[in-house]
Symmetry: C2
C-alpha cells in the first residue's frame, strides 16, 4: 500500500510536470483564459490589434450555441463595425476534385506577396468537422496556414445553411476589423450554398476542369450564371486541345446569359494552381473587376443591396434566437415536438402552443 | 359647359347600367359580399359543405398580405383541422415542356372517374400571374376546370419560396376539409421548390421525356433522388427505341441511390398524357405505394416528420409576421431599409434598430 501510494504520487507528479510543460501549448492556455475572463473591450482591442488568438476566440463565440456567447459576439461585432467593409470579398467555388485548396493556396500566396493580408473562410453546411479536421483543413493549405499574413478558418459546423451563412458573414466583419484586406469564401459547388456566398461577396470565381462537360462536373447553370470569372484549373493535367475547347465552350455558355448589372463581361481563363501558371492573371482580372465596379458605382450599390438582404436575415435570426432561448419555450419544446412526431398534435397546434407560451411571457 | 355636363351624366348613366347588369357575374358579387360579411362560422361551414366559392375566398385570405386577413385565415384553418389529413397528397414535377398540364388533366380525369375528388395546387415562387392568367391556368386544364369534382388553384404569387410553400400547405388543409380526397401539387422542376413540395406530399412523381439526357432536361440529381416514380411522358412523340433506352437509363440511375426509408423501390414507367396511354398504370402504382407505406407505417411516420418540419416553419413565419405587422416596425421599416440601401446604416445596425423598436413596444 505504502509502496503503491508512493508510486502513484511519483507518477502523478511526473505527469503533472509533463502536462504543464509540453501538452498544454500557450494557445490552449490563452483560450482557456480567454473564455474565463476576456471582456468585451479585450476582445475588440485584441481584434483591432490583429491578435489572431483573440480573433479565433471571438469567432468561436459567433459559432457557439449558447445564448450568452452569441450576445457577447453581437456586442463585439457592433463595436467592430466602424472598421469593417474595407476588404475585397471573393467567393470561390467548384466541385470536389477541382483543386480548390491548392488554388486558394496558390492565389493566396500571390496576393500576400503583393503586400496584402488574407482571411480564408468557408460555407459548407454539410461540414461535420471535428477538432481533428480543423487541422486537416489547415494542412491542406500548409504554406498559407503558416503565413503570418493569412488566417484560415473552416466552415462553421451544423445547423441550417442560413445559420452557417450568417456565422460566416459575421466572421467576415471580424476579419475585416482585424485588418485582413482580402477575404476568400470557399464553398463546395454542389448545393445551395453558392447563392448564400454570392450574397456576401464582391466577386464570384468558379473553378472548372477541362475535358468534362459541366453536367459531369455537377455544376448547375444557376451557379455558372453567378460567376464573374470561370477559371479552368489543372491545365497541367489536361491536353492543350481539351483546354482550348473548354475555354470556347464556357465562353459560349456565358454569352447566353443576359448582360450583367455590373457592366462586367464574365471572363474565362485557365490556370494550374499546382505550377502557379495563370494565377497572376486571375488576380489581375479581379483587380480589373474591382476597378470597373468601383468606378461605375456597382461595387457600392451591390454591397448596399447585400446589406438589405442581410438586414432581413439578421432580423429573422434574432427573432427565432429570442424565441428558442426563452425559458418558457425551452421547457416545453422537446415535449411538444415529440407529440407532433407521435401524431398527437398537428404542426399548427404545436406551433400555436409554443407561440402562446412565448408571447404570454414576454 | 352645360352641354358637357349633360353628356357626362348621360354616358355615366349608361355605363352604370352595363356594369351592373352584365360585367359583374354572380361569383364576383358573391366574392364581394363574402369579403364584407362572411363570419368565421360562415367560412368553416361553407368549406365543410364543399362550397367552392367560399373555399376560394378562404384561400384568398391565406394569400392576403393584410394581417387581419391572415388572422382570420388562421382561425379558419384551426377550425378545419379535425377534418384534414384524409387525402392522398401527390407532388408532380418536371421541366417546362414535359407536359405537366396535360398529364394532370389525364390522370385527374381518370381519378375522378374512379369516384374521387381532386384539388390541383401549385408551388411556383417565380409565378407572377395576374388575374388574367388564373384563367390561363384553368384553360390549360379545360376538362378538369369544368368538372364539379375538381378544384384548380394556381400558385400563390410573390414572396419567398418559404412564403409560397406555407400558403400552399395551408391551402391543402382547406381543400381536405372541403372533402377533396386527392391533392396534386404541381411544381416546375427547375429550382428549389421541389424540396418544399417534397416536404408536404406523400408521393412524388417526376415527369421526364425520352431521348433527352437528364442534364438536358435540367433536372438535378437531387430531384431524381426524391422521386417515388419517374414517368416518361409523351411516348407518342418518341421512337420506341428511345423510350426503352430512357427507361433503362433511369432505372440504372435510380439503382445508384441508397435504399429508401419507405421500403418502396422507385419505379420507372411510361405514358402519353395526350392519348391516356399508361395513365391507369400510374394510378395503380400510386395506390400500390399507398398500400405499402400505410401497412409498414411509413406513411404516418413521414407525415408526422413533415408536421415537425412545418411546426418549426410555422413558428418562424408567425414570429416574422408578428414583427412586420407591428405598428412600431411598420412605421420605420421603409425608412431604415432605405438608409441601408443608401449605405448610411449597416445591415446589423438597421436590424438592431427595428428589433429594439419591436421589443421595446411589446
Amino acid at each position: 500500500m505504502a509502496n503503491n501510494n508512493k508510486n502513484n504520487e511519483s507518477s502523478l507528479s511526473v505527469n503533472h510536470g509533463v502536462d504543464q510543460q509540453s501538452s498544454i501549448n500557450p494557445e490552449r492556455l490563452n483560450r482557456f483564459k480567454g473564455r474565463k475572463s476576456l471582456s468585451l473591450d479585450d476582445y475588440v482591442e485584441g481584434i483591432k490589434n490583429g491578435d489572431r488568438t483573440i480573433l479565433s476566440q471571438a469567432i468561436t463565440l459567433i459559432e457557439s450555441t449558447k445564448a450568452e456567447h452569441r450576445e457577447l459576439a453581437q456586442d463585439i461585432i457592433e463595436a467592430c463595425l466602424p472598421d469593417t467593409g474595407n476588404s475585397i470579398r471573393i467567393g470561390i467555388t467548384g466541385v470536389p476534385g477541382v483543386g480548390k485548396s491548392t488554388f486558394i493556396e496558390s492565389l493566396g500566396n500571390h496576393i500576400i506577396e503583393q503586400g496584402n493580408s488574407l482571411a480564408v473562410l468557408a460555407v459548407d453546411p454539410s461540414s461535420t468537422r471535428t477538432k481533428g479536421s480543423i487541422l486537416g483543413d489547415k494542412t491542406r493549405m500548409e504554406t498559407l496556414a503558416n503565413n503570418d499574413h493569412a488566417f484560415i478558418r473552416p466552415s462553421p459546423t451544423g445547423g441550417s445553411l442560413g445559420g452557417v451563412a450568417r456565422k460566416t458573414r459575421e466572421t467576415i466583419y471580424l476579419c475585416e476589423a482585424a485588418g485582413y484586406d482580402t477575404i476568400f469564401i470557399e464553398t463546395v459547388g454542389v448545393g445551395q450554398s453558392e447563392t448564400a456566398v454570392h450574397s456576401m461577396v464582391d466577386f464570384f470565381l468558379l473553378l472548372m476542369l477541362a475535358g468534362a462537360g459541366d453536367e459531369l462536373q455537377g455544376i448547375k447553370r444557376g451557379i455558372m450564371e453567378m460567376a464573374d470569372t470561370i477559371a479552368i484549373n489543372k491545365i497541367d493535367e489536361a491536353a492543350e486541345k481539351a483546354v482550348s475547347q473548354a475555354v470556347r465552350e464556357y465562353k459560349n455558355a456565358l454569352h447566353l446569359y443576359p448582360e450583367t448589372k455590373s457592366g462586367w463581361s464574365p471572363k474565362v481563363t485557365t490556370c494550374s494552381a499546382l505550377t502557379d501558371k495563370g494565377i497572376v492573371d486571375i488576380w489581375e482580372i479581379i483587380q480589373e473587376y474591382m476597378q470597373l465596379t468601383q468606378e461605375n458605382g456597382y461595387f457600392k450599390e451591390n454591397r448596399n443591396r447585400q446589406a438589405k438582404h442581410w438586414m432581413y436575415d439578421t432580423i429573422t435570426n434574432r427573432l427565432t434566437d429570442h424565441f428558442y432561448d426563452h425559458p418558457a419555450v425551452k421547457k416545453q419544446q422537446q415535449k411538444i415536438e415529440q407529440q407532433v412526431l407521435n401524431g398527437e398534435l398537428s404542426s399548427f397546434q404545436a406551433a400555436q402552443q409554443l407561440l402562446e407560451l412565448y408571447f404570454d411571457s414576454l
